[in-house]
Amino acid sequence: MYTEDTIAAIATPPGCGGIGIVRVSGSLADQVGRAIFRGIPGGGFDSHRLYYGHFHRSVDGALIDEGMAVLMRAPRSYTREDVLELHSHGGYLVVRAILQACVAAGARLAEPGEFTRRAFLNGRIDLCQAESVLDIITSRTEASLALAQRQREGLLGRELFAVSDLLTGALATLEAYIDFPDEDIDPALQVAVSQRVTTAQQQLYRLVGSFRFGRVLREGVSVLLVGKPNSGKSSLLNALSCEERAIVSPVPGTTRDLIEEIISVDGLPVRIVDAAGIRRHHGDAVEQEGIRRTVGRLSEADLVLFLADASRPLDHDDLEILALLADRPYLTVLTKSDLPPCLEPSQLPPSLTTLSLSCLTGAGLPQLRSALFDYFMHDASSSPDDLVAISNVRHRDLLQRAVGALDRFSRHAAQDLTYDLLSIDLRDALSAVGEVTGATTPDAVLDRIFSSFCIGK
């Protein structure tokens, strides 16, 4: 929305480079900086001066990373607003954590192209650049619109509609009491209002706290590589990440045999996991423990890539792994296409797509990237659940706002605050949920009043 609030976003592409930058623009930039960055002398930020210090979560003070921070006061900044830049190590998790801390400290996530738009609207960029601004907004929003559409139809969408319906009903009841005091509306309905709110609250708590949500939030979309030893998993991992110049960031708490990289596929953060667990012991059969772990990981992954060495015929190990993949969607990747082929795609069971590539020459890598992008952004066969992953920091942010508003409502209702105040809490919750589902207008509440209550003089 074209307003004067404070926005934040990751300014560097995910997974790229040794440093990551989170940029904040708006009147709260200074405040956000002081809330999460420790290292500024007593007087606060001097404009355009780079400070060394530590980033902390403003909620509990937990340390996130060390780094540098600079505040550029308006109008001498990219957007001509106060702009804060936070430079940290480039690991995806670190940068995300800093972004989240900024949001917790009062900023909101920027819309696509919003920094550039502000720069333009504040006269920082000239007319020639306007067209490209439009392009950015348009192309990005087309992708996100398609995404939003998918989410609306998806599981999350359905659950949120249920929540939104409960809240609309509760608000309509409250508003009916307010706007139609002389009508004989059943006083027992007041109880129904708090029941509806409680139910909605529970559903939201569950959504916000759900495993999937939490995991996706921490880790982005995940792609699992499976294949027998020497099928080219490590080479592919390296090829994809070299291309991205990503730094290896082992996730704490995972077992040593799990190696992962975060790469960016056209701006979509994708976590590639090498399921190194499937391996031979002493030249023997595939380790049973490895299989068990791989099965577990298969169900956690958003997408599976099955790798087979195209320069060798299919063997028992390949078939054993394929047996694990039966009944689930996966992409087949035939590696080592630079060597004389021994394996025809027709020999393999059908999968979503089959691609050939060579990590040595790089042939086929762009095709793989676009297949990944298509799968997560466009492919209708992917489960709607997967899409929860994508714009999910924003969603969690909004749903937490809704939860907060409902908490306020319950607290205020218990204190017997008046209806005019209680309705504000409900409205806040409803509009936050509505920003995810794209629904709810003032008229929707009126419609509900007239369809639920017999009103009229």
């Binding site: 929305m1 074209y2 307003t3 004067e4 609030d5 819309e111 696509p112 192209g113 919003e114 738009r117 333009f120 609207l121 007319l127 306007a130 067209e131 601004v133 439009l134 392009d135 907004i137 348009t138 929003t141 619109l145 508003e175 009491y177 307010i178 706007d179 139609f180 005091p181 002389d182 009508e183 004989d184 204190q415 017997d416 605050l417 008046t418 209806y419 005019d420 105040l421 309705s423 504000i424 207008t441 003032p442 008229d443 509440v445 009126l446 009043i449 007239f450 017999c454 009103i455 009229g456 003089k457």
Partner: protein, 625 residues
Amino acid sequence: MHSYETRYDVIVVGAGHAGCEAALAAARMGCLTLLLNMSLDGMAVMSCNPSIGGLAKGHLVREIDALGGEMAKNIDATGIQFRVLNTRKGPAVRAGRAQADKQLYRLRMKRVLEQQGNLHLKQGEVTALYLERDELHGVDTRSGIRFLGTTVVLTTGTFMRGLIHIGLINYAGGRAGDLPSLGLSDQLKGLGFEVGRLKTGTPARLDGRTIDFSRLETQYSDDQPRPFSFSTERITMPQVPCYIAYTNPRTHEIIRSGLDRSPLYAGVIEGIGPRYCPSIEDKVVRFPDKERHQTFIEPEGLETVEYYPSGMSTSLPIDIQIAFYRSMHGLEQVEIMRPAYGIEYDYVNPVQLHATLETKLIPRLFHAGQINGTSGYEEAAGQGILAGINAALRAQGKQPIMLGRHESYIGVMVDDLVTLGTKEPYRMFTSRAEYRLLLREDNADLRLRELGHAIGLVSDELYAGFCRKREQIAAELERVATTRIGMGEAEQQWLMDHDCADVQKGTTLEQLLRRPGIGYIDLAGLPGGTAVLTPEVQEQVEIQVKYHGYLERQEEQIERMRKMENSVIPQEMVYSQLQGLTPEVREKLERFRPGTLGQASRIQGVTPAALAILAVALRVNGARQ
């Protein structure tokens, strides 16, 4: 056509609740004004219910008063039952409501109009606008007189092509007993206005001598009637009660038996009726499980036996009407004096208006009231005063005024109408106002007095009184914020008595006042707790302290929206040339042609991305010029 010799600054067509406010405002602002009505006995007539105010409507009345209008004073002088509604639901949704003596209401307004300088009252039916080469120059009347004027305000009520329905019988009429206005809406259509059809209805009027009031519940006026106007000291009219009756299953059965002769259900009525004011047959059909419907039996005046059964409007045939009213307890013997009826009338799509209520198609032409698709006396009056003010300013060559959504219900209403239009008769609800906490009845003067004075509708004397009040509020807010309570015996005792034993030394009066259950008046028990102030000032201090956090949040929201509200979209904007808009959004923008980015944001389906594109495009346009 005979051209009348006087040339007017402002001509107001129709002397209903919109027309009266428009004419008074224009005349009081120094414009030579003509008020034309089909009958000079039919001015400020309450065609439907005999009451003023209620939720959101009471808010409108107070705003009209703050701007210098007449409605509040008129009901204060002629009201016969005053009540404040929602006293326990919070200050923002508290609203006054009063029963009027209909005849006194009309007569007093007529007297005010007659005594107003600069204002001519004339009887005449306007059949057409008088245009010369597409320019508005006045109006033509059926009796053959042409009145010349610089600006024209149309307030046609239910009169344009009015069609009255009682069962399957229908006839042309602007109101029971009145002729319709013919010709004008055809001309408007020819000029390019989108003319549509709406429907409303009114219940029968019952003979009080045939009602057994002893069997009905009674509802009295408040002990201390609270006036609507900021300048009325107290209510002097005698106060009378209303009564409550109920329908029963037999009533519903009778109503159902007549549905085949209902013009609504037989499809004779094409106009769309209001959902919040359904006919009794609608209620029975839509809520079949409800065993009874409530009706307030309201007196139409002190000197008449006619009563108005609210919520019982119908367009069922007369035999069904008689039978169902008589099926209700206490009404077994009731005689109907005037039958209930439905009425269809023409309105003009309000999307074709600027937020000043001037039409986009014909400069210097203004529309107010039901012609814009609204319903209700207060809604009409609110638009009437705005249209009158702007017609006057236009005639004087001055800049028009617009009221924002953040400063008044009038602003919310006008913005809703001109931005989104309406498909059913539009009524004000407090839930339509996103800044409801700020738009209270109690602070209407703080919101609008300044403006009323600036345009010349509020006298210097009234304004001086208002300024004193405003200063007292500010001074007392400052005092409670800085006064810390001592810990003497009196204070300790007071804290004990008010559940505040936990309060520490050094606490301010403001902090105490913020606690639940403590009102300003309670502070009187503390040494130096209160100052000598009027109840109105005390009320403001209490509300502003108690609701401080919430009020501040709404102020912040307004601040965030301000830039969007101030970004003007030129009327000649070509949306088809804007890259990146989806076809749906483009179609909506072309249809509604929002005047500002703020308005665009309120059109359903216009996404944040579309707004961003619009904002950029505006900037590009601005840079090119």
